[in-house]
Symmetry: C2
Subunit: 416 residues, 2 copies
């Protein structure tokens, strides 16, 4: 094998009954890519001896690095550790450093006596290298067999991330030759996947074999991604950059940003550049736009707040929408979102504001205003822009589409 691939095995019945969504694998794949290790497979198996054993056997045929998450908790549904012990031919012994760490967690942080089951968490196969876990009681473990490396990590996301960031990612490049993987992404809005493909067909035909093109449609926007991989980093970067510029020029009419960033980050950057402030008045999105914006560190520099006016009484009492408007044209109307946007701009004394009102479903639709009907307004001093959208999807998708389109309307206003 020329390239050293990684495979990610996630263990847990909860993955196979759909009780949890696996967010660990995507994060791990991103981080491995950054250090030049491509991922071959991702595999999820249940808490069953034979299935885990099979996954270790099978994935080590395809990858040099096998990363395993899950199955290391203190309770007896976890069979991973005894299995790894047997798989690599070791016996379980107490790791004194881990035991001291677990004891410390119980004495100083939880302030409760340790249980017998927690002592067992300090047991590790004597054939592994212990990877310390400062965020929890279960340590990570590294095994080597036939030139392959197997790394077992707890499934709790913040524990897994801590061990990956502080122990595993710094270690891998010293054990394996890595390659160069570079991505460039263009985020577009207002053009469908097939029309976009038609638009860039000449640029696509001109791509060398080491650059791959992909389209990722999501909530009415399409991301176009170029991925280059190979050993000569300088050549790779130069060629990728040249082709990327050609694609960017061709799609410029539809371009939101030339990086793999969500729309809220794009808007945040523009607000910071302009030293401008924002407030939202949200009916149907129920605070989701404010949540997207405040998910980003440093949001307090440009975001002042929001009025979630879910009930009509809040629209009238807090946002000063006259009752006569609600009675005649209704809450989902151009008039209502215009007043909502202008009121919140004044109440919160900001430079820009967003207001949304719509019918997210599944109930509440009428023949004139079916589920998915949404009015969005973006206001700045002296000027308010409004637009009607018709999304016609499920509730969660309608909420997402409303938020992303509202942020995109703000982006256009900020750029205009």
């Amino acid at each position: 094998m020329d390239i050293n691939y990684a495979s990610i095995i996630t263990i847990g019945d909860e993955l196979l009954i759909g009780q949890v969504v696996d967010t660990n694998s995507a994060w791990m794949a991103q981080e491995l890519n950054k250090i030049g290790i491509p991922v071959k497979h991702r595999m999820a198996v249940g808490d069953t001896w034979d299935d885990i054993w099979y996954a270790l056997d099978e994935e080590s045929k395809h990858a040099s690095i096998i990363l395993i998450t899950g199955g290391l908790g203190p309770t007896s549904d976890d069979i991973t550790k005894p299995l790894l012990c047997k798989y690599f031919g070791g016996k379980l012994v107490i790791d004194e450093e881990t035991l001291a760490h677990v004891q410390n967690i119980f004495l100083s942080i939880l302030k409760r006596p340790m249980l017998e089951v927690n002592v067992k968490q300090a047991e590790v196969p004597d054939v592994c290298t212990v990877l310390r876990n400062e965020k929890g009681t279960a340590p990570g473990m590294l095994f080597e067999k036939n030139g392959k490396v197997f790394i077992s990590l707890p499934g709790v996301p913040h524990e897994m991330k801590w061990i990956m960031t502080n122990v595993v990612l710094p270690l891998l490049p010293s054990k394996f030759k890595t390659t160069n993987i570079e991505h460039r992404t263009l985020l577009t809005a207002g053009i469908g996947e097939s029309f976009l493909a038609d638009l860039v067909k000449e640029e696509e035909a001109a791509l060398p074999s080491f650059i791959k093109l992909a389209y990722l449609p999501n909530f009415g926007m399409v991301r176009l991604r170029l991925t280059a991989s190979g050993d000569d980093k300088a050549l790779l970067t130069e060629s990728l950059e040249k082709h990327f510029v050609a694609f960017k020029e061709k799609v410029k009419e539809f371009l939101v940003i030339d990086e793999d960033l969500p729309i809220e980050v794009v808007v945040a950057r523009l607000l910071k550049e302009k030293k401008a402030t924002l407030a939202t008045a949200e009916s149907c999105t129920g605070g989701y736009i404010a949540h997207l914006i405040t998910s980003m560190p440093g949001a307090s520099a440009y975001f002042k707040g929001s009025v979630v006016s879910y009930d009509n009484s809040i629209k009238t009492n807090v946002l000063h929408v006259p009752e006569s408007i609600l009675e005649t044209v209704g809450a989902v109307s151009e008039e209502t979102v215009k007043i909502m946007a202008e009121s919140v701009l004044e109440i919160m004394d900001t430079d820009y504001s967003i207001a949304v009102s719509g019918i997210m479903g599944p109930d509440g639709g009428t023949p004139e205003k079916p589920v998915g009907t949404v009015w969005i307004a973006v206001a700045k001093k002296g000027e308010t822009t409004t637009k009607r959208f018709d999304f016609r999807h499920t509730r969660d998708r309608n909420i997402q589409l409303t938020a992303l389109n509202a942020l995109n309307m703000l982006r256009i206003t900020l750029c205009g």
Copy 2:
């Protein structure tokens, strides 16, 4: 093979570079479980001929039903259809019904001329059964080989879900003998995984072999799940219920709810039962609590709105927190959240309110109030409860922990 297992193969480089999180598989697994088809593996592979071929070969050794998502878009990064055609020994032909459907989407909905590439979307291998897709242009396809069924679906979530719900799930039980799979879940708060395991160790020892126990810790709460599977449905349900009652009795002190439901659904039920209304005043969660509540259909029956007072000026001007309090004890204090909760209760005229203020990080911490310091208040007329929390995690986790603990405090007030 006695049990007819399913395997889920997801196709796409974006899964292996971590550009998207796979939410399709969890949903599919849940739905398959409901009709009595357990999932053996979930496997993600890239957009590469050999890798997809390998996945089909390998997974058909372990499962009777192989579900494939992704790789069916209109653009040329998709190689799945020609591969399936070759794998099952067919040739690509135009499916007239699909063509008419794609034409209709372009003419009546998109109101744009169809491209050559969209005609290709109506091509299917002549050895497949076409599964109609009312939500998009790419049809699903069903193949049979050596008694196994292979079903290929588009990766766009709402298209995949439509075909699964309307075509695939009704079809599978007629082709395969299904089993019975039943889950019962207890959601607990205020007790760690190992202490919970210690508490129920007698009940665990009494479980028959066909009932499996699992613990799912998440954001400071632990879900305890019992899963029974087997052919005799009546026996299964009776035994599961008996053991479930025993577990429930033992953990009652820590029980949030005896169903697999998120805390916001539990709170929504209690509010509906009491015909009570809620408002939130959110600083550090930035609208996330309001978003969780309004994600649920019918939230307008009990949720009136929110003031997101991210900036201190909103706390003073809208929520009437005196400047003197912000200057002396600060925005993250018992005094501040108490006034925020009481003000929003009055402004929005609700029966209950939640207020939160804290330091989510990564910046903004001080020695006295480090990152993760949060004050939460829950108010009802004449009574306000406050509590300080110290979460010490990353920003996104601190936001989640704050929201879940605020909702749990409201739950306790509603039950009290």
